[in-house]
Subunit: 367 residues, 5 copies
């Protein structure tokens, strides 16, 4: 449980850092962005890059020291064949179209995050009364809203799930009472139950109308309409979690990129083509002079290939990162902060501010 409150603090302090980081980034020129580590392409790729370089070196060493002449010649022919393949693969289109779809989806997911502010305003405007029961009513209504959102996040977000591994944590954090937990667990349905707090909310609306705390039918309609929209947002998050981009598409793109760099392991090797053509075994044609040209300088380190690696693999990582924005990566949405902020702010609106009527004064432009 302590972990839960500690988490809140940690998240809050994290958030204070995050916006600053992002804002600074935008002000400078883009080139400053090249030297950032956090959330950067370097941080995401250094492992893969090392693996690639290591494999490249192994292949290179084997070719130079372990192969005999005949094997070398076969190897060289294979390298030229691989190089040809890399130049034929239209990897940039595939990535372009794929990433476009993923980015669109990522932003749609962000827009689907439900915020309780509107319902808090509705409740503050339409659920009247200053006695204790009215306060409890308003607070309970907005608590159900936050609970509905939280149960949704627990399904879709890994980080929220980690913070609230069971309903007990939800109860301890004040989103739910023990009684409510009991009822929740007793509902005879084995489908997800994130719709339940909204149903409780509806019951409260009916009760408030009966008790004449909600004084008119249009007022109730406002609240119900916004509840439905809130529930829609929760359902959208569920939908994004339930139906993902088809595996086939992701596999096709991933295969394209991995194959490309497997081919590069060979196709971008330095080849000692100027060796000794007279000793060549029969039956294997020697590469023509046009091809020899490409392989005539030995730089040991495949600099431009590494840049292509950064470039294509980085693009793939964009997709991988945005695929599940509710995780714990550097660029993922801070859902735990959202949970805390929403509970606090919505309580403030329906309760604290409700009773804090500002005096009506003339503004300075009042003639």
């Amino acid at each position: 449980m302590d972990n839960c409150i500690g988490h809140m603090r940690q998240v809050t302090s994290k958030m204070k850092y995050a916006p600053k980081r992002l804002r600074k980034a935008k002000l400078g020129g883009f080139y400053k962005l090249l030297f950032r580590w956090k959330g950067s392409v370097y941080k995401l790729l250094w492992r893969e890059a090392l693996v690639f370089l290591f494999s490249y070196a192994i292949v290179s060493l084997v070719y130079r020291f372990a192969l005999n002449e005949t094997q070398k010649t076969s190897f060289e022919a294979f390298c030229i064949y691989a190089e040809e393949f890399t130049s034929m693969t239209p990897i940039s289109f595939v990535l372009g179209f794929y990433v476009s779809i993923i980015v669109q989806r990522w932003w749609d997911q962000f827009l689907s995050i439900p915020w309780p502010d509107k319902l808090a305003y509705d409740i503050a405007a339409n659920v009247h009364g200053t006695d204790e029961e009215a306060r409890m009513l308003r607070r309970t209504m907005i608590r159900y809203i936050n609970l509905g959102a939280l149960l949704t996040y627990c399904t879709v977000s890994k980080s929220v799930k980690k913070r609230f591994p069971s309903l007990d944590y939800v109860v301890t954090a004040g989103f739910m009472t023990e009684e409510e937990k009991r009822v929740y667990l007793e509902i005879p349905s084995d489908h997800p139950k994130h719709w339940l707090p909204c149903a409780w909310f509806i019951n409260l609306v009916r009760k408030a109308v009966d008790d004449n705390r909600i004084k008119s039918a249009p007022a109730a309609k406002t609240i119900i309409d916004d509840l439905n929209q809130f529930h829609d947002n929760c359902d959208d998050l569920y939908g994004f979690d339930w139906v993902t981009i088809p595996l086939v598409y992701t596999q096709v793109v991933t295969i394209a990129v991995y194959t490309f760099f497997c081919a590069c392991l060979f196709g971008r090797q330095y080849l000692q083509l100027g060796r000794k053509s007279e000793q060549m075994p029969d039956g294997i044609d020697y590469p023509s002079s046009a091809d020899i040209q490409r392989y005539n300088v030995d730089y040991y380190f495949p600099a431009f290939t590494m840049l292509q690696f950064l470039f294509y693999f980085g693009w793939l990582k964009v997709a991988e990162n945005l695929m599940n924005p509710f995780g714990e990566d550097d660029d993922d949405f801070e859902m735990n902060w959202v949970v805390d902020r929403n509970l606090q702010v919505s309580y403030l609106i329906v309760d604290h501010i409700y009773n804090l009527q500002m005096p009506l004064v003339k503004d300075i432009h009042y003639d």
Copy 2:
């Protein structure tokens, strides 16, 4: 009929598996996705790949053992011509644009699936009464909603159609009474009748207003507005089913991919070009040395061509898969689960939870 209930169980257990599968996929790196079978590009393509490889082998064997010198030379010229064609076909653009459109359409279809939750909330909030007739009223209203959706699914979804091959199954599953079936069949119209349950629903709304169970005009308006939106969603599903992507577009893309790999059958063959130029018959020019280069190593297995096959055909399969997402493929929407979940949850909201007013208590942050 047993089949129907058995199906429910089967679907439910399937669903329990499905989300887990998808979630795991997202957490690991993309490379893990390469080794998945279910819903994978390998599962979708192994048949086509075998056909291609078999044809490739046949062509290769005929070339090597069945043709005489003159025929071989003609064959080689044709292969070079075919290879040239493959490099000219901009297959990746066509696929890119086409798949973008299909993916957009696929997601729009998902968003068009009608959910009864909002109407259930509306009914729970606005249709008052705890007597038996009120319960029957609320249950019947939401049942009509579920029936309207089910009739729509029966038209657009192959798997729902399979589960409910006739109206008798719909009656048995409790979506419809015998009396309603009779009226449904007697309606003098030969157009689809999925709008009928909504019309019955409207009649019930009118009755509920007359009986003062719906107590205000705005309350009725809420229900009618959401019904109209629900009906819109059903109509959208119909629209997607009625008006498909024009056949021409699909044919153009399919022809492009099939032609490409037909050309590859020849263009990617190993050619014995170094044979004996002096025996060549007159009238046919021998390929120049630049072209010879490409064909000088015999790998028997066309590895990179197979990767291209996986790549382009996989992309086409993405389109084919998403074209009709209401079928029975691995990646299709589980509409039977949707049917069951919606009936259960909406009954719970309008009936079970309706009578389960939670006690109003102070939350733990209450000062």
Copy 3:
């Protein structure tokens, strides 16, 4: 007039066929789609393809039999020049971007088709009364809605225009009375008058409120809001008809495709380049050996060029087909079916079903 009713039957039977056709297409693999005729790329293109092949043959024959040596050499140089041009034209991008826009627009047009179902529900729910005048009122209201839609279709759809060449046909089909026709024609405005039935509808709403058949202001609001949305849809169809994709864009794309294949007429000819270099006239350089290579086999039939033809021209035909989806092509929307279905179904909802209150019974899951 008989033609009108005959048309209804014909359309209905056509429709019964159409969905089946489309559904079957989706279930099989894509390759089945390659052998379909109706709505296919072959049906759309066989005329153009014959023209192209014929021209190709003429050019080929002239080259082989009518030209002398000098002319042949000039011709060959021109062919090589043309071939170079075809390889430089980025025809696939232009088509890709253009077709994307057209497809988007095509679907937006489909979504703009106004359906009267929602207004029928609104009327059934809110316009009370079982006497004869109430029936007439409800029927007339929904008739005006259908009339408004029909007048819109008459402007935008060629097939509806054909069925209803004048207002007399509209009157005969029961959408309008003679009296209404007279008033319609007398309205002192020379702008399109599809907004008129909606204005009549509004008058009826006012009358119904005055007569207390619409019993509350929110009820009237529901009807008026949905009328406005219905009118918006009609206006959108008008807009799509009035403002088309700019001619320039279409011309640019069409010029690109036609030019490409004009260049192919020459660039893809078999050239007898191996003839006799010693007899060449001075001043004209003979093509180098690299170019000779491409032309060294004579297949008589330009198989791969025809596939490209199918491919690019088919893509252009997709655009042409979707440009005006309210016509009479195989893939166009069946607007006459829409007209019939809407009139019938909306009458059923506001009149037949209105009086057919289903008895309230317990469903089978009722505990």
Copy 4:
């Protein structure tokens, strides 16, 4: 002032032509579109094409007759260099992406044009009374709506601005009274004032509610909601006018196209490369035989380059044309027609038709 009424007539007759023109275009095949002049790519480009051809001829003549051998050789090297540049510039992508954005924006602008029909229906339905004051009230309300739209058009549309160069013309055309003009000018604000008629409209709504001409709060809500939407549309038009596509993007695209054709001026010249290699000055390498090949036929007229010119420049013209669709080009929206149509039709709805209650009769399908 006469000019104003004359304009109306002229616009009306223009419109009668325009739709016919567009419709015909769609019915025939696309190839008919190639021979159209109005709004065509030829009409838009003939000036630029002449400039290009003239420059091309000048360059050609200078090369052939004014340069000596050394200069010719330098010139030829430069031409080859330029040709290489043209083949490297990915002009079709840039144009594709840019034009996609512009087309999207163009259609969004069309959809933002505010139509008063909905407000006219609202007023006809909800503002009761047949006495003279009620008529004046309805007419004045809808007049304010038309005035608000007109003031917006005057800002964004060049052709409307031309027709109404000052408020006097607006008064003369009957959109405004002298008194209103006076008040309009006296409002102490130097920001655009298109929001003012809507504020007057709101005052009238309040007055109508007070006078019990608008009889219920939901009725007033309908009108106010639609007014707000109308105002939103006006603001959107302002927004499109205020914030244009960033200049940088347009410059980048324009530079790309202009540079491409500047390079073509040289790169596509016929070069006399077969001249006399032995006289070459030292220090300048002579182009290799592969390059010679491309320049070996002298056609005087750069036919295919002109097609590319039509093609790329036409694409750029699409963007230029759609950039400001409220101008006076052939393809621009006919805003003056919109102004006239809207005033007439909205007056008809709220006044003429209001008093023209159609008799309620049985339709022909009435059993």
Copy 5:
């Protein structure tokens, strides 16, 4: 504080210039846009262009004068290697897809800017009374709306932040009273508080209903619905500021462009390849004649490379510019003008115009 009013004046005069500038741009042909400085690609790029040219010159001078023969040969081989890399990098796709996403986002941000006009109309229509308290009420309500927007702008816009560096400036400008500032600061929450003025607004709505200044529930609903939409817009702006395009994507694109021009620094150098092949050291193969061709003219200034620089870097600058449109660049939204305009216009609507009922007169078309 004076700075604040001075700023208003300065902004206003700036605005007067800005629209004119933009409008003129659209009227002339696109080619005029090539010679504009303000907001142009030249202004954005001259620094980077100078750096590139300077580096290019340094590299060139070192090659020509500082290297010995062996080093020169190595350098030349490296240059050819670099040139090959530039031709392989598909920089235009990456930029195309990336800029498309950025442009979409930029316009969505513009559409999210909240305007108070609708709420001002709602207040003018529904908050009745001409006494002093009613005036204060209406003014205070709309002031809170403007304050809510201002607090949002202060977070997302650098230029607004500069003008209002602390709440004191907000108070001085009349958006807030001292009392309100005190309460604002005392709210026990460390999350952003831009939701607070909206909560105050809600309190005023409740008070106005209680005092019978808002006379009906639908009237209150109108105001609350539009407030919620206004708050949504503020939240959207927050969202765009909080969640930016992932850093990885931006880095990938930036790396691609920078790498491309680093490679150009070498790959586009003039190489003295015709020097003296006989003196070549062993072990390094001399470039073949095909490659020599490309480097055989020395133009000193890399003209076409500079055009490519303008082109690709300009495209990148488009993205950089649109990334944060609330800054102080030439093309950014003038948020300070928005602040001033909104306060003035909304005060005018709810107060000045409210009391200025226009007399009802017959329009000139009144029969």
